[in-house]
């Protein structure tokens, strides 16, 4: 934790303050029931206390957590709180006993067995630049945001000329955080130079990658930051109207952004003649029924217009976008970066990152790791650091096999390449993409062909069907993969996969098709032996592909307890009590129930 600068007044309440995180992720983990329980407890104990609803701090494995703070005691965070535990937690904390807390946020205290938040690697190694407020402020309160320096960036920007605002962004070297890493200032400059009566800015909050949720987290926990960035972008290019494009599947995100916009309107940060200048700007939160392709900027524009399909670029949106007008589209995180850069200054931003890509990036680490969560680290951090030190590595007994970076458009980086740095160019040269920054950790219990099959089924379902290579090519790829996992393929099929994948990537219309074969091509590149095992030996080394595995009963271990036969849904196991059981392979559907049911470990998967 290096950058976090929160107004001290915000942290220290005179009486007891209970912070409860309310974002989609914590609500899913049961935060609303915890909140109810907190309310009841405080009433029961007759404590004078404030309940503060905050956003999520990104440490998902702690959800739901609560934070208690009181004068005279350091703020303490309790993790994985169950509603029935709340009373005990509050009682102990009020008495000054912090020993059951997970971490203590800071300050001096006597509880040596409780670590401070700053000593945890997953917190210490982060550089929380855009996520600085996440989990600390009330996302539905503009006062909270202003107290942490909010909207000071907008005030600074409005004092500059439009060219100077773009110049600041150019100097920062900020690149789009949505995936491709296109220089943000360049889009702005092109749109700024267009002569048009109307211009638009759009915040892209579509975020559809499985395993990526940093935009949702950011917009739910600190919506004003996104909004401030959008207003600055609007000012820079001379737009009069902004859209925030949110999936209807993320209702809380849309709601919080709407609340933020209406509060900003009340405070004069939005609307006519913002802060006494000539600049008038307003935003609308646009809810779209989710389609993965809408994350692509031309499809997103088309979705607002009413027909969500990408179109061939050029013209680029910056010259002819929404309703044919110059339009700048930036990702949620990019805009939050813009706001923060203007708030805290360029130097704070440019001191992190690599030569070509400055600043920090939020990464979602999910899958087979101990500590799933959203971690903000400088660009150029090693994958290994992120996966092993911040996220705690794989669960005990498992080893990491690959890391899928960038969702279904990205690629698999094998475990022996985890020394790579997370930046746009490095990842691209190794067949993955930064994407929105989702890292799905795949451990050795997974079959890479199966992983490729999963991502293919995703892109196949999400393909809009407009252009031919993506629509039919991905279908053919999925059929070939099905053939491989069924053991019906030949080595020629692997060549077909490669040739077809490369062809789809080259000739597709939009980025969805252009990147859709990445999971196949990258697994083929790094895990070819696994594909060959499926094809030649007709074996799935990870024992995942059900058509290539078989369950066997070891006669020396079987005691004839009949558990396997009882649990078999297909009646495929015969044998009487006390005698060795036998699987009838003609009936076996390979569901694996016998393996789970056997108390003696006699059933094995081969």
């Amino acid at each position: 934790m290096k950058v976090l600068t929160v107004d001290a007044g915000l942290q220290r309440a005179d009486v007891l303050t209970v912070k409860v995180p309310l974002a989609s992720c914590t609500l899913a983990a049961g935060a609303s029931r915890v909140l109810e329980s907190v309310k009841k407890t405080l009433e029961k104990l007759g404590l004078e206390a404030t309940i503060k609803k905050v956003g999520c701090m990104g440490l998902c494995y702690l959800d739901p957590w609560i934070e208690l703070e009181m004068r005279g005691a350091p703020p303490a965070i309790y993790a994985n709180v169950k509603p029935e535990e709340v009373e005990k937690i509050v009682r102990e904390y009020v008495k000054g006993n912090l020993s059951s807390a997970l971490v203590i946020r800071g300050g001096t205290h006597d509880f040596k067995n409780v670590p401070t938040l700053d000593s945890l690697p997953e917190w210490k190694l982060q550089v929380r630049f855009v996520s600085r407020n996440c989990g600390l402020v009330d996302p539905e309160s503009i006062e909270d945001y202003i107290r942490t320096g909010g909207y000071s960036g907008l005030k600074k920007a409005l004092k500059l000329s439009r060219e100077d605002v773009i110049e600041v962004v150019r100097k920062s070297g900020l690149r789009g955080r949505g995936g491709a890493g296109f220089p943000t200032w360049y889009k702005w400059r092109v749109a700024y130079e267009q002569k048009s009566d109307v211009k638009y800015v759009i915040c892209n909050g579509d975020e559809g990658d499985p395993g990526a949720f940093m935009n949702r987290l950011l917009a739910e926990s600190d919506p004003h930051r996104v909004l401030e960035g959008l207003i600055i972008a609007g000012y820079a290019i001379g737009a009069s109207r902004g859209y925030i494009f949110v999936r209807a599947e993320k209702p809380l995100m849309a709601e919080r952004l709407e609340i933020a916009a209406s509060q900003a309107r009340d405070y004069g940060f939005l609307g006519e003649k913002i802060l006494g200048t000539d600049f008038s700007f307003d935003v609308e939160v646009y809810r779209s029924a989710g389609a993965f392709v809408c994350g692509e900027e031309t499809a997103l524009i088309a979705a607002i217009e009413g027909r969500s399909r990408p179109r061939q670029r050029p013209p680029y949106p910056a010259t002819s976008g929404l309703w044919g007008k110059p339009t700048v589209i930036n990702n949620v995180e990019t805009l939050a970066h813009v706001a923060t850069i203007f708030q805290v200054g360029l130097e704070e931003f440019t001191k992190y990152g690599t030569e070509k890509s400055k600043g920090t990036k939020m990464f979602c680490v999910t899958g087979s790791v101990k500590k799933t969560g959203v971690y903000e680290v400088p660009i150029g951090t090693k994958i290994k650091t992120l996966v092993y030190e911040l996220a705690g590595g794989p669960p005990d007994g498992r080893a990491i096999k690959a890391v899928q970076i960038g969702g279904p458009s990205g690629g698999c980086i094998p475990a022996d390449l985890l020394d790579l740095e997370l930046d746009y160019e490095t990842l691209q040269s190794y067949g993955a993409i930064m994407g929105s920054g989702g890292l799905v950790i795949i451990d050795d219990s997974n079959c890479m062909v199966d992983v490729a099959k999963y991502f293919t089924s995703f892109t196949l379902a999400e393909s809009c069907g407009k252009c031919l290579p993506c629509r039919i090519g991905m279908k053919v790829i999925s059929e070939v993969l099905e053939k491989i996992t069924s053991g019906d393929a030949s080595l020629e099929d692997l060549e077909v996969l490669k040739e077809l994948g490369e062809s789809i990537a080259k000739s597709s219309l939009c980025a969805l098709g252009g990147t859709a074969p990445n999971p196949i091509l990258s697994t083929l590149r790094y895990f070819r032996s696994e594909y060959e095992d499926h094809v030649i030996k007709k074996k799935c080394p990870a024992k995942v592909c059900s058509k290539l595995v078989r369950y066997e009963i070891d006669p020396s271990k079987c005691r004839g307890c009949t558990q396997c036969a009882k649990n078999c849904p297909a009646n495929a196991i015969s044998g009487s009590p006390g005698k060795t059981h036998v699987i009838n392979y003609n009936r076996c559907i390979k569901c694996g129930q016998c393996l789970i049911a056997c108390p003696f470990g006699a059933v094995t998967k081969v």
């Binding site: 061939q312 252009c467 031919l468 219309l509």
Partner: protein, 217 residues
């Protein structure tokens, strides 16, 4: 006017011209399928892909830029076009025999042009176990028809299923014709059959027939 290079030939075109028009102006041709000038221009079929400054783009939708270097055809592009056409054919219900177009078909013309060989119907047929009649020495029109003739299947003793046969090389054609000719069909019948069925003809089929009939083969 902007200066561009089509296959290294310098051409001057108005700014904003589509690559496809520029190529036409330079005297080259690029195969298209979904593009209908002035009517449909959505760049969906990706058959007209060309390289502009090394980047693969659809010619029908991409505007030229100053000093753009356009490559109309190379092995890469040919491969992309061929794969895309094959993908399209993979979902196309190939029933040329009952198709109203009766051979006036851009898809088939394009298949010829891009060298996509006829895909034998046998591989799609529900009666896949059929073996090739020609291989058995039974005269059939499989190799000559593109997609059958609504004739009865060989299981019922009929000679033709319109399997589109082994259209691999000229030799096979000649061999098939010879087999037919040696059967119970005479030359005039063979000629009329060949011209009656809409066929995927090699260019010099006429010569082949002549050769076969004159026993020169």
């Amino acid at each position: 006017m902007v200066k561009i290079y089509v296959n290294n030939y310098e051409v001057d075109v108005p700014p904003g011209t589509l690559v496809i028009d520029a190529i036409e102006k330079a005297g080259y041709e690029v195969p298209t399928l979904c593009y209908l000038k002035g009517l449909f221009n959505e760049a969906t079929c990706r058959i007209c892909v060309v390289k502009v400054n090394g980047r693969v783009v659809p010619a029908c939708k991409f505007p030229v830029s100053e000093n753009a270097k356009i490559i109309v055809d190379d092995s890469d592009l040919r491969k992309l076009r061929k794969i895309n056409l094959e993908l399209l054919l993979a979902t196309h219900e190939i029933k040329c025999w009952s198709c109203v177009r009766k051979g006036a078909c851009e898809l088939l013309d394009l298949s010829k042009k891009l060298g996509v060989e006829g895909i034998p119907v046998c591989s799609e047929c529900s009666l896949r176990e059929h073996s090739c009649l020609v291989l058995k020495g039974i005269p059939c029109l499989g190799p000559l028809t593109v997609a059958g003739c609504e004739a009865e299947c060989p299981r019922r003793g009929s000679p033709c299923i319109g399997c589109r046969g082994y259209i691999v090389s000229e030799d096979v054609w000649a061999w098939a014709l010879k087999n037919l000719y040696n059967g119970n069909i005479d030359l005039s019948e063979l000629k009329s059959l060949v011209s009656f069925f809409w066929t995927y003809l090699p260019q010099n089929l006429r010569r082949l027939i002549e050769e076969v009939s004159s026993n020169n083969y």
